[in-house]
Amino acid sequence: MNKKILLGAVAILLLCSHDMFLKLDNYFLEPEMPAVIELVNGTFENSENTIDRNRMLDVSLVGNGQRTEVDSTQWFEKDLSTYLDFTTGKSGTWIAGVSTAPRNIAMEAERFNNYLDHDGVVDMLQYRKDNNELDQDAVEKYSKHVKTIFQVGNDRSEDWKTVLGYPIEFVPLENPYEIHAGHDLEVRLLLRGKPLKNQLVLIGNKEDHQHAENGTHSHNGGEEHSHDENEGEEHSHDDLKEVRTDENGIVKFNLDSSGVWFLKTIHMEKSTIEGLTHESNWATLTFQVGSGDHSHDNASHSHDTAEHDHHDHEEGGIPSYVFWIGSFVLVGILFFLFNRKK
């Protein structure tokens, strides 16, 4: 009985969706300036717990062609999030990555099935249905591997394509900071260094709530269907795009709005290790797409905070230098006119 209660409690925690992401307040940073990256463990919006340093197998920053291992003392905790303090380097497109050590979790069958459904591990759920395993409890070994790509200064560099060598990881095929909303982006998913084909990837955008219109999307084989509101009670991924990797392990999707984008996937396989039934590797990737409704690409024209920033709702305004130059010119013209009339 106690075991069931324990399993239930653990499963409920799991059903809260403990995705892990690396996030920044602003993905456009200034060179040689202090910055903070948040490591959230929960939903994309809210972290539900901090991460112990000893769980972090690798913490890397990649910029200016160099990969730097981050010291564990650079982390601090605030509320339920873990934060990485660092100083940016020279201008370029940087990556930060965190890979965590595996942990085991035991779940009774029903909870495990719900979790598979809830978190988009639909292939394993289907496998259990096809093989009459829905009533089997599970002991899963899981680990999480997360990356974020951010832009420092104005110059683009090639660091964004660096493969960190994690058990599973997303690697874009194009620099997200060289494209803007409306363009397609291709991202390759690697499992142990090799392209992972036909893997379901969930894609979200912080400012995009329009792609889920009609609630229509596809799971397997691209067959479209929709979830009504009641049915979707246990689906946390209704608002996400669902895309499968192709033969080359590539997902292609349209960046249909600006803002922060994230990709997440959970690859699960049956385990042959004694005491385990399944092994999963979780991967996420975050980056920001600048507002595409002006000029060619927001990312390519100055991200000095002196010029503008990318939090339109929070910090929008006329760039100071534009205002002052315009003001000076206007006052000068008016002064010239009135002084002549004298």
């Binding site: 307040d25 602003n26 940073l29 200034e30 300036m33 202090p34 910055a35 903070v36 605030k78 934060y83 303090d85 905070t305 002196a306 503008h308 920033d309 990318h310 939090h311 709702h313 929070e314 910090e315 929008g316 305004g317 006329i318 760039p319 100071s320 230098y321 205002f323 002052w324 130059i325 003001s327 000076f328 206007l330 006052v331 000068g332 008016l334 002064f335 010239f336 006119l337 009135f338 002084n339 009339k341 004298k342």
Partner: protein, 226 residues
């Protein structure tokens, strides 16, 4: 071409530092606030005031209207009391208003001051302008709400909140003094020149135009037109 090229040059020199160092309060400041303790709140507050052109334009309008240093100090103090009360009070009590709306009203305050300086009330409505002392206090409160809205857009955490608000406010005052010294000096120096009336008229018409544009810009932001 210009009767007073030196004055024009001094106007240029006056604006150049502001242009060069113009630095919007951005989310990069969040990192500074996260890491710098109370001093960082002073810094961000000062930066916001120095680059917050709407606040400075209003104060420039006030200074134009006043003749003696004593009056300038008196009215600046009233404005400071007004915005400090609202900044500290609203932030501490977590009173929030729409950022676009409050900035639009601040734009109107700039328009108001330019209009009043050009004797718009007398000329257009044939009435006396409202009491400047009360208006500066009122606009001080409104500008304070704008400052509070900006401060509340940052994550201040849960510890030392009052001290952080006070530090931000101190920074605002320091930034205000820093920005106002060259403005006061410029206006007072120009007063002795024959071109002062043209300068006065040009600046106050500019304040009206800037106030209208700031208002329209913020309202466009409110209605998501931009």
């Amino acid at each position: 071409m210009f009767k007073n090229p030196k004055l024009l040059l001094s106007l240029g020199l006056f604006f150049i530092p502001v242009v060069v160092f113009a630095h919007d309060v951005s989310s990069g400041d969040q990192e500074i606030l996260n890491n710098g303790g109370l001093l960082s709140y002073i810094w961000v507050g000062a930066k916001h005031m120095v680059t917050g052109y709407d606040h400075l334009l209003f104060l420039t309008g006030v200074i134009f209207f006043l003749k003696s240093i004593k009056d300038i100090l008196k009215f600046i103090t009233v404005f400071t009391i007004g915005h400090s009360i609202m900044l500290i009070g609203a932030t501490f009590m977590k009173i929030q208003v729409n950022e676009n709306i409050i900035d639009a009203i601040i734009g109107l305050s700039v328009l108001y001051k330019g209009f009043e300086n050009l004797k718009g009330f007398e000329r257009c409505f044939n009435v006396k302008a409202p009491n400047l002392f009360l208006m500066v206090l009122l606009f001080g409160l409104i500008h304070g709400m704008g400052l509070s809205t900006r401060l509340q857009s940052f994550d201040m955490g849960t510890d030392q909140v009052l001290l952080k608000i006070l530090s931000f406010n101190l920074g605002v005052e320091l930034g205000q003094i820093t920005a106002l010294i060259p403005i006061v000096l410029l206006i007072r120096l120009w007063k002795k020149k024959s071109s002062y009336q043209a300068f006065y008229k040009a600046c106050n018409i500019y304040l009206i135009i800037a106030g209208i544009l700031l208002f329209l810009y913020q309202m466009a932001g409110y209605y998501n037109i931009l």
